[in-house]
């Protein structure tokens, strides 16, 4: 019951924050996004307490959340983005609570709490341990065993969720991941339903239903859903960020850009390797023609404010010679994001943005990197070819089927891309992500040793399946999208 209370708290908290930040977002979208924002902001509060060296307790946690909420409200009012009062805020939250979505959320979370099913791996013991450490008043100290590993490998979001669950008198956190994975399916199915409102209701429902069943029962998704790990939440936040961009490109509602920015920030707080995915997110953001200087600036502000304090704090404690993530790797990831940030802001500020060149950037840069590696570091290419391509992608039956599916669906890409210019946003991240994993294994892998890239491929699965269904819907609809051309071509 305590864990159930914690899961409901996440929904309510997210609802509060989303009403403050995006008061003009539709009620249904607010309701469906609430739990994800609840997780993100809870994690942020825990991170903030660790940075200012205050041991975690329930009153302090609530106080920290209140400060963040108040600051967010003030910031939102100041640039005259939105103006609203506290009473409007509470009526917004109330309407999110008195809704079918909330009842559905209560039912889903209750089901997984009562089901009490989870899959634990060696990593799960560490996530559980990190949560207990924080809940029992632990702070970041050099003398705590394997503190650097805890900072970069087990914190912030997942460790924080375990800690807050314990503060709520929950014992072990097992229902969070399945609840959120099912909620992600509901959100994505809802967007498929809404995007194709021109078709008849039966087709809309059929597509949304088939998508839900396909993704929900997909072998790896179903198993990892119950896994006590960071993979599920990282996958959820990354998927939501890219889908938010797609929704912006369709609707032109700029809230989606900022939502995407928050989500990719939360993804990077969940797993350090998501700093690679943030490059994909901001690269795609730069390709949208309707994005102006102000929007790109705010998107980066949101990302930097939500992510950088924690990552810089972690960097301070990370030595050069540590086995998990060392400070050189962490600096490289943060530095690459900063470079992309400066580049995109300056290009937009001085109207020097060449959309066509930017869109072709991966097609030019990818082969250049590969050729460079072939000539100057052939052993890296060989290692990644053996370990990532042969062992992970072709050696694991699930990934082999996924790759076959990806190759087959590439045939349809140009046809769909012609009709829906925004389709690029959904389809290309899979290619870019796999390419980045290839490079990650080349530089971070070891001969004859398994690499976490085999689990990381999972992060792209929901987005790829979603892109297949969006493509399928576009083809059966057989008419150009009303918003075509918003995306760079």
């Amino acid at each position: 019951m305590y864990q159930w209370a914690f899961l409901i708290f996440l929904y309510l908290l997210g609802s509060l924050f989303i009403n403050v930040l995006f008061s003009d977002l539709s009620n249904r979208d607010c309701q469906l996004l609430s739990p994800f924002f609840g997780i993100g902001f809870s994690g942020l509060a825990v991170g903030l307490l660790l940075i200012v060296r205050i041991p975690l307790s329930l009153p302090v946690f609530f106080l920290c959340l209140s400060i963040i909420l108040y600051t967010a409200k003030m910031l939102m009012n100041k640039p005259s983005l939105y103006t609203f009062s506290w009473s409007q805020l509470f009526s917004g939250v109330l309407s999110n609570v008195l809704s079918i979505s909330f009842v559905l959320y209560i039912a889903v979370s209750c089901f997984f709490v009562l089901m009490a099913s989870a899959y634990a791996s060696p990593d799960s013991t560490q996530y559980e341990g990190a949560g207990r450490y924080l809940e029992q008043g632990g702070l970041v100290h050099f003398n705590t065993p394997r503190m650097v590993f805890m900072l970069n490998g087990r914190l912030l979001i997942v460790g924080a969720m375990h800690a807050i669950n314990r503060l709520f008198h929950g014992y072990s956190l097992y229902a969070l991941n399945p609840t959120m994975c099912v909620w992600l399916i509901i959100f994505l199915a809802h967007t498929i339903f809404m995007l194709y409102r021109t078709k008849d209701k039966v087709t809309q429902i059929f597509l949304a239903l088939i998508f839900s069943v396909t993704l929900g029962f997909y072998k790896h998704f179903f198993v990892i859903m119950f896994h006590i790990h960071s993979n599920s939440l990282a996958m959820i936040f990354f998927t939501l960020s890219i889908v938010s961009l797609y929704l912006y490109s369709i609707s032109g509602e700029k809230n989606w850009v900022y939502i995407g920015s928050f989500e990719i920030g939360f993804a990077c707080l969940t797993r350090v390797d998501m700093l690679l995915c943030s490059l994909i997110f901001f690269f795609l953001l730069n390709l949208i023609r309707t994005i102006d200087y102000k929007m790109i600036k705010y998107a980066w502000y949101i990302f930097i404010v939500s992510l950088f304090p924690w990552r810089i704090f972690a960097l301070y404690y990370t030595p050069w010679d540590t086995w998990y993530v060392n400070s050189a790797q962490l600096s490289l990831l943060i530095g690459t994001n900063i470079i992309l940030c400066l580049l995109s802001i300056l290009l937009h500020k001085y109207n020097r943005m060449s959309f066509t060149l930017f869109r072709r950037f991966p097609l030019i840069l990818g082969p250049v990197i590969i050729l460079f590696l072939i000539f100057f570091m052939p052993e890296k290419i060989k290692l990644s070819w053996d370990l990532f391509i042969k062992y992970i992608l072709l050696g694991h039956s699930t990934w082999l089927l996924l790759i076959i599916s990806l190759i087959i669906s590439t045939i349809s890409f140009y046809y769909i891309d012609y009709r829906d210019k925004n389709y690029y946003i959904l389809f290309i991240p899979t290619m870019l992500y796999l390419f980045m994993l290839f490079l990650l294994v080349a530089f971070g892998g070891y001969e004859n040793v398994d690499h976490s890239a085999s689990r990381m491929v999972f992060h792209i699965v929901p987005l790829f399946i979603y892109s297949l269904f969006i493509g399928f819907s576009t083809v059966i609809t057989n008419k150009p999208k009303p918003q075509r051309g918003i995306f760079a071509s």
Partner: protein, 238 residues
Amino acid sequence: MDNSIRRLIVLASLVIAISFIILDNHFIYEAMIKSNNYFLLREKIRSFKSQFGLKYQTENNSQDNFNDDVEEALFLRIKKMSANGYLDESTIVSLNGSNRLKHMRNFIEIYRNSSKPSNAIILGDLIHEFLEFQIDTLFVPFTTEESCYDLAQTLWCQISSLSWFIYPIIVKRFDDYPYQLSESQYKSIKHNLVTVEGSDSTMINIPLVNSDGQNQNYYLFSYKKEIFVYPLRDVLNG
């Protein structure tokens, strides 16, 4: 090419792509692995992959749940799922209540036999539940640089997780004490304990102490497949 034909090809390619995903279904897989034909097919595919150099062998660095014999592995998996380890229910209910017992049972069922570090965290959980304010420092006989240690006929891995679980209790690595109990020592301390079955049928024993008792140092001991957390003086005097 005519647009309708092009559209048909695109539609067909998408249907095939989606079908691959639909077929890679959890329930289809669970139904398939119960048949011998599945194993035969899998072996054929594996030999095909090896023949064409598509199977890159890595060292198995996660030996958890690893078994060469596939049928035995399946049997063990099913057995593990249905196995109910021993839990000193009456003592736990009398100390912490039935609600806590339910949660504790749930936690142990999730982690028991899940991986090599699981015994360390089950021990940590028990210490936190029953001895939280009684221990100042816990001495454990794991002093070498290895990641796993053999004690009580099982492995103890990732001792850092134990430190995190029982914080602020200090976990000190120290092996200059008789951590393997003699039979007489075992008999003298084998009373007034909470016992829980951890991974690999290891019995984990925690002494029941008064909550107003003095804060003192505890040590980790083993006897056959049982481990004990006990003050050194009490063991030596026993």
